[in-house]
């Protein structure tokens, strides 16, 4: 961490100086580690029309947190991760075995998850207020040990994506074609959904339920408007996610507001500019 602190000290911000605010330095590193991952994963989310799914994953994680805190786990993240994984596997499996629309399956299962979560969280007349943090997240309370996990997550994510990327691209184009090339959709989709569950659950504690999905969908959607090839789509998405993450973080410092909200606002502004550009170009 010392290396990071001394690197940040070169930045021309008052909080970045050696006697500045540690929590901002941590938040900055968190943004730099997480946003590229969300941006890249987002390209496949948009390609596979899974925006609703990634949103619903958060609900699965929510139930996990409620159960975890009811049982009295020291780290509700673990139970939320398990629950999000279970949710991802269940949705994929139900969808494949019944051939129902994905949105129908998600709608059914997500509402069940939220119901269980709220039921357990308010068990015995408890207040639901503690879980509000979960909705908006808190990027300014990042702990150094969590940054270590984020680093590992980012380092693991990219090699996995090297393996999955092409297959997901092909499957998103045409499942018949993908199957004829030896791809097994159920397993590939389950792996992707599981990976997404890990990324979303981990990002939840910092960015919150509302922000995570925006960070997955908006950069990729914006990139889609600007890019022509798969490669430039990935780079646009990663670049926009990281850039808007930084802009949002700085804006929240000067406006003294929740970081997640300003990040989403920065992403949304980028999206509408791109929308305008795309219309204008045609």
């Amino acid at each position: 961490m010392q290396l990071w602190y001394s690197l940040v000290a070169f930045l021309p911000f008052e909080w970045a100086q050696s006697d500045g605010f540690l929590f901002m330095k941590h938040a900055l590193l968190a943004v730099l580690l997480l946003m590229p991952v969300l941006g890249l994963a987002g390209t496949a989310v948009v390609h596979h029309r899974m925006a609703f799914f990634s949103d619903a994953l958060g609900h699965g994680a929510f139930t996990g947190v409620a159960i975890g805190s009811l049982v009295g786990l020291a780290h509700p993240q673990i139970s939320s991760l398990l629950f999000a994984l279970l949710f991802a596997v269940l949705v994929t499996w139900v969808q494949h075995s019944t051939r129902m629309g994905r949105d129908t399956v998600i709608g059914a299962l997500a509402s069940l998850c939220v119901a269980i979560g709220v039921f357990l969280a308010t068990w015995n007349g408890r207040s639901i207020g503690r879980l509000a943090n979960f909705l908006v997240g808190d990027l300014l309370s990042v702990a150094p040990q969590d940054l270590g996990i984020a680093l590992i997550l980012a380092l693991l994510f990219f090699p996995i994506w090297v393996f999955l990327g092409n297959r997901l691209l092909l499957l998103g184009c045409s499942s018949s074609l993908a199957i004829s090339r030896g791809i097994r959709p159920l397993w590939l989709e389950m792996t992707f959904a599981g990976l997404l569950a890990v990324v979303v659950t981990f990002s939840l504690q910092w960015l919150g339920l509302l922000t995570v999905n925006a960070c997955l969908v908006l950069p990729a959607a914006t990139g889609r408007l600007l890019a022509r090839s798969a490669r430039s789509h990935a780079y646009w998405s990663i670049g926009l996610a990281t850039f808007c993450g930084l802009v949002g973080l700085l804006a929240s410092w000067y406006a003294d507001s929740v970081a997640g909200a300003s990040i989403v606002m920065a992403l949304a502004v980028a999206f509408f500019i791109a929308l305008f550009l795309a219309k204008w170009r045609r």
Binding site: N166, S174, S175, S180
Partner: protein, 267 residues
């Protein structure tokens, strides 16, 4: 079993030579044996046995819901089926790793999808991730493949912006790598005008000759099939007719199913 009686002459013809198993001994041969597909209680395909030889185009025709696409999907593994399939080379040895080329029925690509023709080829043919770039060698190979179908100028075109005919040519080129033991085409000419159709089938004929391919083609273009196909199979859950195009088209059963819209060899 009246239908059985009806196509006895054709069965006889079948036994008489052209497609008897014996010819498998001197050509490479793809054998589909007793293939059946069931979904729940419904039988979609029953006991399909076909031998498909290199350099031959076999056309599958049949009314709507006859199981034509199902047959191709069963072969690619998209639908589970019973029966089996084996790929033999000219001396009768089994291929260890046979490859299938498949051109699906006009897949829909969204307009504005950020993917070029090159991206599709790279994602399918290479393990190297597309989002990290495409290697020169692969790019050259893709250009070569595209030039076989007269589409080398489409390399950097966006997938969503291709016309129906262009898309089918692209998918055909993709199906040629790696060189398939059996090439499956599912109604490739849907959405093309008469001119485009003629051009497309010319290309199919060309690549067939060039690579000595065994091709299984689902099609309704009887006029084109007459000159293109070596053999036509009339399918309706099971194989009803199997023979030379002119013979099948002249058969009363064909007339009964398709009406008199197409009368034998007189186009």
């Amino acid at each position: 079993m009246t239908t059985n009686l009806r196509f006895r002459p054709l069965l006889h013809h079948h036994k008489a030579g052209l497609y008897s198993p014996i010819s498998c001994a001197c050509h490479c041969c793809n054998r589909i044996e007793h293939l059946s597909v069931r979904v729940g209680n419904q039988v979609l395909l029953q006991d399909i046995s076909l031998h498909l030889h290199c350099g031959e185009i076999t056309a599958i025709i049949g009314p709507n819901g006859a199981g034509k696409s199902t047959l191709l999907r069963a072969l690619t593994g998209e639908m589970s089926c019973s029966g089996h399939m084996e790929f033999l080379d000219a001396s009768g040895h089994l291929y260890a790793k046979p490859s299938l080329g498949y051109v699906p029925q006009s897949p829909h690509f969204e307009l504005g999808m950020p993917m070029t023709v090159l991206d599709l080829f790279a994602a399918t043919l290479s393990r190297f991730p597309v989002w990290l770039g495409t290697r020169m060698a692969l790019k050259r190979r893709v250009s070569e493949l595209l030039s076989q179908v007269g589409a080398e100028d489409l390399l950097h075109r966006s997938l969503g912006a291709l016309s129906g005919g262009e898309l089918q040519r692209i998918l055909l080129a993709l199906a040629l790598e790696p060189c398939p033991n059996l090439l499956l085409l599912d109604e490739p000419s849907s959405g093309m005008d008469a001119n485009g159709r003629r051009m497309f089938y010319q290309i199919v004929d060309q690549v067939r000759k060039q690579h000595d391919l065994a091709i299984l083609l689902v099609s309704h273009d009887f006029g084109e099939l007459l000159n293109l196909a070596d053999r036509v199979v009339l399918l309706h859950q099971k194989i009803l007719l199997d023979g030379k195009p002119a013979d099948v088209f002249a058969h009363p059963l064909f007339q009964e199913i398709f009406g008199t819209l197409f009368s034998g060899g007189k186009t």
